[in-house]
Amino acid sequence: MAHDHPGDHDHGQAPPADIALRVKALESLLVEKGLVDPAALDAIVDHFEHRVGPRNGARVVARAWSDATYLERLRGDATVAIAELGYSGGQGEHMVAVENTPTLHNLVVCTLCSCYPWPVLGLPPVWYKSAPYRSRAVIDPRGVLAEFGTELPADVEVRVWDSTAEIRYLVIPERPAGTDALDEAALAALVTRDGMIGTARL
């Protein structure tokens, strides 16, 4: 399935060409009615393209790896511990950190819609919001992981977290071996978005 050109999505069907015009028409109407300000829309877009994203979550993970007292605070109240690093807001109101270990792997999904921890990971990728991921992550997490190139040994337990309420889960991957000498910034550079969703191991 082609999924490498703009406008494509989870089932290979391009949206109707007039959607761009229809969105523009609705924006114009709401602006004309004084209900939205185009500059506010620009600011919202800027926030999601530039202010939030997986680099935020990576800083949380790197701090948890390098500071045992921070890890304790993250375990105690992840929302507060994450806010210490300046990340807060909608879709991050009730954060819970779940930690991978050599014998436990965590995977996060929202089978009902597309719930995702925006302040630490930004907006979810298309595949996370797609019917294939939403349907299969709960029944075949090992198959989904294998498609992402992550083969889990049978003795590693898989725990799937279906975000059905306003709790948002952040996976804390295992710290890779041989990284003792790295500082927090270098550690953060090792942390991937998929590692924090749980579809990859670092």
Partner: protein, 211 residues
């Protein structure tokens, strides 16, 4: 759709952009800035009202756009005539204060809460066995079909949270105790599932009964 087969492979896109088109940017921003923004559950419910075949055929942001239009009409924010013509009716009300550009950053960084004070004690304790009730409400619910009738263990009590089944319909927040409940993969999917794997869900007390 949790647990359904046949919906195809997961298709990650390398170096995926945040948005794939400008209309997606504007749709996302409109949903956040529009006067309908106050009730997340109503928005989710509106997207669920898209008929199944249509829901699967259209893209994610087409769903958002379709639901936004419906919410604006339902809420009386935009009249059908305005929606059809694209022109504002000078006689139509515009009472809602709009989100100002300088208010965007504070609004997006503000951590609200779905936690509420609730009367009474939670009915279930951590470690207790509970069954997800076999409920099939016509309206909005956050009880996935794939756990209904199945038995799990209460892992945590998360306090009382806004109850989506009422909130989505404008029937109040009606906060109810929220629990994280863990179901073994074998309980949900049968004997072929991996023996130690599990799925945890956040479920409100009315979804559960003692098992």
């Amino acid at each position: 759709m949790g647990g359904m087969h046949g919906l195809g492979p997961v298709a990650p896109e390398p170096d995926e952009p945040v948005f794939h088109a400008d209309w997606e940017r504007r749709t996302h921003a409109l949903v956040i800035a529009s006067p309908t923004r106050g009730n997340i559950d109503a928005g989710r419910h509106q997207r669920e009202l898209i008929p199944g075949p249509e829901y699967l055929r259209i893209t994610y942001y087409e769903r958002w756009f379709a639901a936004l239009r419906e919410m604006l009409l339902k809420g009386g924010v935009v009249t059908p005539a305005e929606m059809a013509s694209g022109r504002a009716d000078p006689a139509a009300p515009k009472a809602t204060p709009r989100l100002a550009p300088e208010a965007v950053a504070p609004a997006l960084a503000r951590t609200g809460s779905y936690l509420r004070e609730a009367a009474g004690k939670p009915a279930f304790k951590v470690g207790e066995r509970v069954r997800a009730r076999n409920l099939h409400p016509v309206g909005h619910t956050r009880l996935p079909r794939y756990v209904r009738g199945h038995v799990g263990l209460v892992e945590s009590h998360r306090g009382s949270h806004v109850f989506p089944d009422t909130h989505a319909h404008g029937a109040g927040e009606d906060p109810r105790p929220l629990y994280t409940v863990r179901f073994t993969a074998r309980e949900l999917w049968g004997p072929d599932a991996a023996p130690r794997d599990s799925v945890s869900l956040d479920l409100w007390e009315p979804y559960l009964e003692r098992a």
